[in-house]
């Protein structure tokens, strides 16, 4: 597989050199320490050991190369990421094509884009209920500064008017409902227009295995420093994967208990987000967002999940030990990058101390059980091209809360990147 990728890279380097392509390089080296937690999902670090993860120090070196050029009015861009890592006491290497797309202006107003790319149709920073074309976001790096996000494979046709645009997109994407990966194909439409100083987008998404999704998002500014935005989407039925324990008494399951059991529900499930971005004096950036998803577990459902975990725990010392262990691993998939429960508050502050030093802090608070993830980050610019950073995550909460039971308790990362 790697040889294939290297061949593709080589094929595109040559014309790139001949036609004077723009090159960009980005290197990232990081060391990180993960501390796993003894929780109802990971008793005595048992789940983590089965998965082969270890508490301790790991390291990764990433080399990102970006190349873009225009050949006979056909523009193309390729982003390649090479990774060399030492994780869980094993060396690993990998080459991944993060973006590789062609773009052609079919007329003065019509643009065709095809290939793998990262699009973004949402207006939210941490969550995007309407963004049906974007790859999954990473909470620690929503802007993809580390360039680790892989684009979706798509064909996009967009008409640009003077004050509006209309886009049609057909894409294949990795869906991450409840942390279970599945490849999906879908088509999406977006109509954008600026009305009364508000950027408005109407979005719809069609998937032959799901009911259509309808969404609207907006963003605008008020005064000199205040930006506000919102997103709303609705869909008949829920395609979220739920643990069967929300409907059944605790027991050991013989097959994966996570299922999209509410896909045929008659009522509509809504997701919405409201937030603002405020620039304080001295360029301090403050972002706050509230996010709700009907699809998430309610407090009562979460309690049922925890009862199930307690039950599994009680069976770990019984003759059904192996079955209990597998049930533990299945349960880990409840945790999702989209959040497992219904209501969240996101807060981000970036303080530029001086030209070389900035401090950032991110907090995601589960409003139902008041558990939270806190991420603190420090960036120091060294010379013109190097940035040293330190970042740590703390997952905190009472017992039987979402982040209090998360299988990691602490994560610390230091690294250096060059661009």
């Amino acid at each position: 597989m790697n040889i294939k990728k290297i061949m593709i890279v080589f094929l595109f380097l040559l014309p790139g050199i001949l036609w004077g392509a723009k090159w960009r390089f980005f290197s990232l080296y990081k060391n990180y320490y993960t501390c796993y937690r003894d929780s109802w999902f990971n008793p005595d670090n048992r789940s983590i050991k089965v998965l082969g993860f270890t508490n301790g120090l790991h390291g990764s070196l990433f080399q990102h190369m970006s190349l873009e050029t225009e050949v006979f009015t056909l523009q193309w861009k390729i982003d390649i990421l090479g990774k060399l890592s030492y994780e869980n006491e094993e060396w690993d290497n990998n080459i991944d094509i993060k973006q590789f797309y062609f773009q052609k202006d079919l007329s003065m107003n019509l643009v065709l884009m095809t290939g793998r790319t990262i699009l973004c149709w949402g207006t939210g920073y941490a969550f995007n209920p309407t963004d049906v074309v974007a790859p999954n976001k990473r909470l620690n790096d929503p802007d993809n500064r580390e360039r680790l996000v892989r684009g979706n494979d798509l064909v996009k046709l967009e008409y640009f008017g003077e004050t509006f645009s209309l886009a049609f997109c057909y894409l294949t994407t990795i869906d991450m409902e409840s942390n279970l990966r599945s490849w999906r194909s879908r088509s999406a439409l977006r109509f954008y227009k600026n009305i009364f100083d508000v950027d408005l987008s109407f979005i719809s998404c069609f998937d032959k295995e799901q009911s259509p999704l309808w969404g609207i998002n907006f963003s605008s500014v008020l005064g000199e420093r205040f930006e506000f935005h919102g997103e709303f989407s609705t869909q008949k039925g829920s395609y979220h994967y739920y643990h069967k324990s929300v409907r059944q008494e605790p027991r050991l399951f013989s097959e994966n208990p996570l299922s999209d059991c509410r896909r045929n529900d008659d009522h509509f499930y809504n997701r919405y987000l409201a937030g603002f971005q405020y620039t304080l004096p001295k360029n301090i950036l403050w972002i706050t967002e509230y996010y709700h998803q009907d699809q998430g577990y309610s407090r009562r459902e979460w309690e049922s999940v925890m009862d199930q975990q307690e039950f599994i725990h009680s069976r770990l010392t019984s003759p059904f030990e192996k079955s209990a262990e597998i049930n533990l691993l299945w349960s880990l998939n409840i945790f999702s990058a989209k959040g497992a429960m219904r209501d969240y508050l996101f807060n981000y502050i970036q303080i530029p101390v001086n030209r070389r030093l900035d401090i950032r802090s991110t907090c995601l608070l589960n409003l139902v059980d008041l558990s939270y993830v806190f991420i603190q980050e420090l960036n120091v610019l060294i010379g013109k091209h190097f940035t040293f950073y330190e970042r740590n995550y703390i997952f905190q909460g009472k017992r039987k809360t979402e982040f209090g039971e998360f299988f990691q308790s602490f994560y610390f990362e230091i690294g250096i990147y060059m661009k």
Binding site: E68, E70, Q75, K77, Q103, D105, M108, N109, V111, M113, I118, L119, C120, G122, T123, A134, D143, N144, R145, R147, E158, F160, G161, E162, T163, F164, S165, A167, Y192, N194, D197, D199, S219, S220, V221, G223, E224, R225, E227, Q277, T279, N283
Partner: protein, 244 residues
């Protein structure tokens, strides 16, 4: 007597309108030093100084279209490839690597004492109206002193006091004020040069009113007619902009 007064009152609006016409004409003549074509490219080297020491430097290309549209690309500097779009008093920025343009305001700082609006908007006519016009002496030169008031709340500055040479309307100095009435910064138009046969502003220095040791120098190195298709001025096209 009454007849004369009635006659005068009939002419008064006309006379006032003629006055406004003259003021507008002066503003148009001032803009000719900065807006030579309907659509054009203006390349600006911005350097910020603290005392005599260079603090930061960057190169920007601004593609101006009419009075209400411009696309700015940072060609060299800390945020290389950053794009700023200005359309009908609205502004968006697309940071390098980011896939999402975000809304910003013209007054937000670009670098040093330069605001986004200082690069995106080069003329006065579309954004400001003349409130008063006087003739004054400034550094041994006879100048017009114009008090400009913003037409829109989204204009970069609320009020500008502009000094231009009476003989040819060449700008000399401008004082910029915020809505709060605060004297924000002062610009000196220090050098003019020929660009494709047109006499245009070549160098401008902006001084910080609070930190007098700080200044930002704008040097216009290229000004030429250039037309971009209308899609370049659509917010959603920002991610597609390549090859400029």
């Amino acid at each position: 007597m009454i007849k004369k007064m009635i006659l005068c009152s009939l002419f008064l609006p006309g006379l006032m309108y003629a006055g406004q016409d003259e003021e507008q004409d002066i503003l148009l003549r001032i803009d000719r030093y900065r807006v030579p074509y309907e659509q054009f490219l203006i390349r600006t080297q911005i350097t910020t100084y603290e005392g005599n020491k260079i603090k930061e430097s960057a190169l920007f290309d601004a593609y101006i279209k009419g009075e209400d549209k411009s696309l700015i690309i940072e060609k060299e500097g800390k945020n290389k490839n950053m794009k700023i779009l200005y359309v009908d008093e609205k502004m968006w920025v697309q940071l390098p690597g980011s896939r999402r343009p975000i809304r910003i305001t013209p007054i937000q700082r670009l670098m040093g004492q330069a605001s986004n609006g200082d690069v995106a908007k080069v003329g006065f006519v579309s954004d400001y109206s003349v409130v008063s016009l006087d003739t004054v002496r400034l550094e041994d030169q006879t100048c017009y002193k114009l008090l400009l008031k913003a037409k829109w709340t989204s204009s970069t500055y609320n009020k500008i006091i502009l000094f231009v040479l009476k003989e040819n309307c060449q700008p000399v100095k401008a004082e910029f004020f915020l809505i709060s009435g605060k004297h924000f910064k002062t610009a000196e138009y220090v050098q003019f040069g020929l660009f494709q046969g047109k006499l245009l502003l070549e160098k401008m220095i902006i001084y910080d009113e609070l930190r007098t040791d700080r200044k930002t120098v704008f040097e216009y190195t290229v000004i030429k007619e250039k037309e971009l298709p209308v899609r370049y001025y659509n917010k959603n096209y920002l991610i597609h902009v390549q090859g400029l």
